[in-house]
């Protein structure tokens, strides 16, 4: 099972990893991205969605997305297969 699918995520942005017992909080944007990643959306789709939802340029959205994904990897919450 993919790591992301195992995470328990609530609407306030609290994330619990049942395998490691670690918990994290994310802001509204982070929560939005994680939900889309869980749905299996591609980087392009997420960039478009971010740009529409938060009214930012696709370039800014992409930069923030790449940065965020890197952080998820750093915490071991994302294994290579997603984006």
């Amino acid at each position: 099972m993919r790591k992301l699918e195992r995470l328990a995520i609530n609407d306030e942005g609290f994330i619990f990893d049942p395998e490691t017992g670690n918990s994290y909080t994310v802001n509204k944007t982070g929560l939005f991205i994680i939900k889309l990643l869980k749905e299996g959306k591609s980087e392009e789709e997420i960039v478009k969605a971010l740009s529409e939802k938060f009214d930012v340029s696709e370039e800014d959205a992409r930069r923030d997305l790449v940065d965020f994904i890197e952080q998820l990897r750093l915490y071991g919450l994302l294994e290579g297969e997603n984006v």
Partner: protein, 342 residues
Amino acid sequence: MYRVAVSGINAVDNPGPGVGIAKGLKEGSLEISIYGLAYDAMEPGIYMKWLFEKSFIMPYPSAGEEPFIERLLYIKSNYGLDAVIPALDAELPLFIKSSSLLESYGIKTFLPTEEQFKLRGKDHLPEIAERIGVKVPETRIVTSYEELSKAVEEIGFPVMIKGIFYKAYKAFNISQATSYFNSIVAEWGYPIIVQQVVTGEEMNVVGVGDGEGGHFGLVGIKKLWITSLGKIWTGVTVRNEELLSATERFVSEFKWRGAFEFECIVNNRDIYLIEVNPRFPAWVYFATGVGVNLPDRLLKAALGLEPERDWDYPAGKLYVRFTDDFVTDMSEFQRVVTKGEN
């Protein structure tokens, strides 16, 4: 009504498991009366009458088998005693050795065998790890300065310097390593374990083996907050399938009987075995609280009743320990001091 005695009722800053065991037994399905076995009149459990109906000061196990068994027989003949759940490492060898004798007097236990008990020594970890297919931090067993410096040179800093049963320190250089080596030798003697530091999540599993390769439930946890003595203060249940299946392999490979705590460091798919304790940990009430009442199940196994085996506990349950206090009469303390029981 079953009468069961529980030791380790020293609910202090380095708590024994007795109070947690008693809380589990109280919440179990058997009608029971619990007695506390203490080694000091100041052990708080003695005064916690809502858990321990009576408490008894015991002779130290080091005083020998005879006075210890006599004390248990005194309890049995005066107040009735069907089972004992010992919870302290120091008394386990005596209970294990005397279990048939106690059984012949109608006092039941459910304990590991002598061979299983010996596995708790950290020098046995590589053997356990190999048989159940987990890793163990690179380990050297040393008994001199020469061996110590050779071991740290081979493993590289930082290293863990550990006693065979107690104490563990992280050393970053040879002078720290030597100083921890000396302090453990002074307190606990030889040998000393020199171990590689492994990174990952520290997780523990509590369980009760049935002695035939199966078990009466497992609960995996991660300590979130610990005291300066390394004791859990808050924790969370985890469901790490690698860890749980390694624990099941341990139980089946060694046909573990009785309570145990399986301590590991988990790094993604790698499980490093750190320690096996042949008894309940002090946080055992956590298992009861998530629906796997291990103390109750162990008591049933001791009494020859069939315990439950379901253990589908949820991940993400939070354990919170807290300090509490109460006021009682000096006469309670006096009775313990003068009569050895209360």
